[in-house]
């Protein structure tokens, strides 16, 4: 039983390190444009989340009713609603407040277009 867990930990560890290094070097070497980079890096992070969930946190392997999985899915749902909702609202609010004086516009453009 324990060496099956060992294999799970080793695979989890190796793939996590791999994903981290890929994300790191993709950014450092500026492999593609900023927009594309942001999505790749975000995708790699979500991938690593899934890897850790399966190999380290052993999600979904509980016997009986899967309460852990149910609460996890609901938590992810709430997090998505709150975070994406907040970003949409705040971006919309900042956009509406945008008729600021010229130098603020320069800062605003620089920060927001630059990400």
């Amino acid at each position: 039983m324990s060496n099956r867990k060992l294999i799970s930990y080793v695979t989890g560890f190796v793939s996590s390190v791999g994903l981290t290094l890929v994300a790191y070097y993709v950014v450092v070497d500026r492999a593609f444009g900023v927009g594309a980079l942001t999505y790749t890096v975000a995708g790699l992070a979500v991938l690593q989340l899934i890897v850790q969930l399966i190999f380290f946190l052993h999600i979904g392997q509980e016997k009986g009713t899967h309460w852990k999985l149910v609460t996890f899915i609901f938590a992810v749902l709430v997090i998505l609603i709150v975070v994406v909702g907040s970003l949409w609202i705040m971006h919309n609010l900042d956009y509406n407040m945008m008729n600021m004086s010229p130098d603020q516009q320069k800062i605003y453009m620089h920060n927001n277009e630059g990400i």
Binding site: K5, L6, V27, V28, V34, V41, L49, L53, I79
Partner: protein
Amino acid sequence: MSDLIRVVDAEQATRNERKALGFWIYIMTDCVLFATLFATYAVLHGNVFGGPAGKDIFNLPFVLAETLILLTSSFTMGLATIMAAKGNRHQAYTWLAATFILGFSFLMMEISEFGSLIIDGNGPSRSAFLSSFFTLVGTHGLHITVGLLWILVMLWRFYKHGLKKQDLHRLSLLALFWHFLDVIWIFIFTIVYLMGSLS
């Protein structure tokens, strides 16, 4: 008397199972707490108020080292749980100590990063970006400190009482907590540092 022991042991087993679910739900609520801090960072990271932006202050190789250290500590924590489950007290103790050392060095690296920022005058009260950066990464650092304290307690119990059943249960919760902190760090590493250095 024996049936009393049997009843109490059965009771302890069901209570441990409930504790495992309760602790998992606590981790879900902690995820929501971090999600709020991430949302605030995402909204405020542009407000540098004349101070340095992300790419001016982030030292990526340093952060990569931190990330790899924390990932390794997550792996050694996994080994500690396997060895403890097998009853191998010495191996469990060593791997847990290794996890502590890795975790502690991660914390020291983070504190040194914060210290150098504050000394350069870029403390948390310099701008909204720095406030949200320090709070998000600092809250993770606080959780790491709690984790390290917990590891110390477990090391003491292994040293003094060996591998008792209740301590194995506590170790499984500790491992869950440690892996959760590693997952949070992956998102900090990606959103704060990698994306920060892109803008």
